[in-house]
């Protein structure tokens, strides 16, 4: 699977059916990224509706159905965190842009 093909339609499995068949993974999140975790997890949650993500203290507990590869999933999750961080850190520039273009 192409790792960034999150935009392809995702196979939707009924969660109740594969609840037991989810493989569990632990994913540590570097402390400097934890601030962006909530929004990233929310986003990943709807991009991968069949995955289970539980936030623990300083790490995530992840449950993946068979058709999702952990490395790909981790990649996507980190991309999501990066995106949130970049967006957050771009606030000042975006504000300066708005002031310059619209005067506010």
């Amino acid at each position: 699977m192409h790792p960034d093909d999150s935009r392809k339609p995702i196979q939707v499995n009924e969660p109740s059916e594969n609840h037991n068949t989810l493989s569990k993974f632990r994913l540590d999140i570097p402390v400097e990224l934890t601030a962006f975790l909530n929004s990233a997890v929310a986003r990943i949650g709807y991009l991968f509706p069949t995955a289970r993500i539980d936030a623990r203290d300083g790490y995530l507990e992840i449950g993946l159905p068979e058709n999702l590869d952990f490395d790909d999933f981790r990649q996507q999750l980190f991309y999501s965190i990066y995106r949130e961080k970049i967006r957050e850190e771009g606030k000042d520039s975006r504000h300066a842009l708005n002031v310059a273009v619209f005067g506010q």
């Binding site: 339609p9 990066y82 970049i86 300066a96």
Partner: protein
């Protein structure tokens, strides 16, 4: 040095495409992404980023103003109403396969503009605040109401400094009076030609007598008026796709250099039967194959040919201020600069909105010739006119080039708030932009030669396909 927020997406060979909100782009790798996110960019990184318009020293830096200028020029401004698509009749003399909803039988009554509508429409024209006007006559088959066409054209010629008319006709039966009407310098012809005789015939004309009438009218239109005045658009059915070379050859034979590949836009039941998701892959496979053949054609021949929408996307990628195609703009203001006036005098923001409303799924009309624009309904439609705040688009590398399609979302899903990546519009555009960037970064001299043609310059320059090592 500050870096403008970058968005990224994985492309071929493990490379990442980075773009900013003003549409600047470059490719780099995971290591750069990590340096960027960790805030440990090198001097070389900064130097590259500033040079390519992704970073600035402070707000007095020309790089800052340049970015603001490029960003602002990508915003589609609200512009004055000066373009109408008219449906003077819904009646048609053909029964094309995918056109059930937008036609009525030739002999039916009650599907034409009446005198009242015509009078009200002309009255609304005289209130416009514009010196130039463009009128597109659609249908049904508009030539069935040549009298209305004449009257509208005469009125516009007398009341505007500059007026232009397009007749979207199937060229099926064209009377001598109609030929004369079409011959005027301010009047253009747009017709459907599916590119391959058998396809055109099986989808549209059906019987061979009927088809040969069309064929001879098409020939006559081109030989009499030339390609400056006549354009032909193919509509293709994903389940019956033609051979690209044959399509290219038939267009070239007519002297046409631009082919706009449009997929049949199924409505109603047909839409359920031919679900977008099942056909998207087949369509893209065909589309890529078609463009490959174009590239080959342009390598072998001097008369370069383009696929119109691909060229448009390329121009939107490289340039700012490209707002000339109403289907892809951001914000895509609905019901401002152009309006569709249906056979019953109703206003619609787009032709698709008209068709969706006809099948009774939703009512997307925004007023009528009698009472004018319904500003409240228009405002509702425009509440999501831009992709600036869309929670998915804000993270998308293609946001600066893309634009929303509210009507398509409404017509397919009945709502506009579903995740982008689940919509046909987004999936299709993501695939198209992926493809466009593959071409932009291609090292194949044949592809590069075509890119030069499509972007209107003698030679494509790879300096514009920047890479940060």
């Amino acid at each position: 040095m500050k870096v403008w927020p970058l968005k990224f997406r994985e492309h071929d060979h493990g490379e990442l495409l980075f773009t900013n909100e003003a549409g600047g782009f470059f490719r780099s790798d995971q290591r750069f992404l990590e340096r960027y996110v960790d805030g440990i960019l090198t001097d070389d990184d900064f130097e590259f980023l500033r040079r390519h318009g992704h970073a600035y020293r402070d707000t007095s830096d020309a790089a800052f103003d340049g970015f603001c200028g490029r960003w602002a020029r990508r915003i589609n401004p609200v512009s004055k109403l000066n373009y109408f698509i008219l449906i003077p009749t819904l009646r048609c003399n053909l029964t094309c396969d995918y056109c059930q909803v937008s036609r009525a039988p030739e002999t039916a009554s009650g599907f034409d503009w009446n005198d009242e509508i015509l009078r009200q429409f002309l009255g609304s024209l005289s209130k416009l605040d514009t010196e130039t006007i463009k009128i597109e006559f659609q249908g049904g088959e508009p030539l069935l109401r040549l009298d209305i066409l004449e009257e509208v054209r005469e009125f516009c010629r007398n009341n505007f400094r500059q007026a232009e008319f397009v007749v979207c006709t199937n060229l099926q039966s064209v009377s001598e009076e109609a030929w004369e009407f079409l011959g005027a310098a301010d009047t253009f012809i747009s017709t459907s030609f599916d590119g391959v005789e058998e396809v055109h015939r099986s989808q549209r004309t059906k019987e061979s007598v009927v088809h040969s009438e069309f064929r001879s009218n098409l020939q006559r239109a081109f030989s009499e008026f030339g390609t400056a005045k006549v354009s032909a658009l193919p509509t293709l059915d994903v389940h019956n796709l033609p051979d690209p070379d044959t399509v290219i050859r038939s267009f070239v034979e007519l002297g046409l250099r631009s082919i706009y590949l449009r997929r049949v836009n199924y409505q109603g039941f047909a839409r359920k039967r031919y679900d977008f998701r099942d056909t998207q892959e087949a369509w893209m496979e065909f589309y890529r194959r078609f463009v490959d053949r174009l590239v080959e054609h342009n390598w072998e021949n001097d008369d370069a040919v383009e696929e119109y929408y691909l060229s448009h996307l390329l121009r939107r990628i490289f340039r700012t201020g490209v707002q000339n195609h109403v289907d892809l703009r951001n914000p895509n203001w609905l019901g401002y600069d152009y309006l569709v006036v249906d056979f019953d005098g109703q206003y619609y923001p787009t032709d698709e909105a008209r068709m969706v409303s006809r099948i009774g799924r939703l009512d997307l009309s925004i007023g009528d010739v009698d009472s004018g624009i319904d500003a409240r309904k228009r405002d509702v439609l425009n509440s999501a006119a831009s992709n600036f705040e869309d929670p998915d688009c804000i993270h998308c590398v293609y946001q600066a080039y893309c634009g929303p399609d509210v009507i398509d979302d409404l017509s397919r899903y009945g709502r506009i708030d579903i995740p982008r990546h689940e919509t046909a519009h987004c999936q299709h555009h993501t695939a198209l932009f992926d493809f466009a960037f593959e071409l932009i970064y291609s090292e194949d001299p044949k592809v590069q030669r075509s890119l030069g043609h499509w972007l209107g310059t003698p030679k494509y320059r790879t300096e514009l396909a920047a890479r940060l090592k």
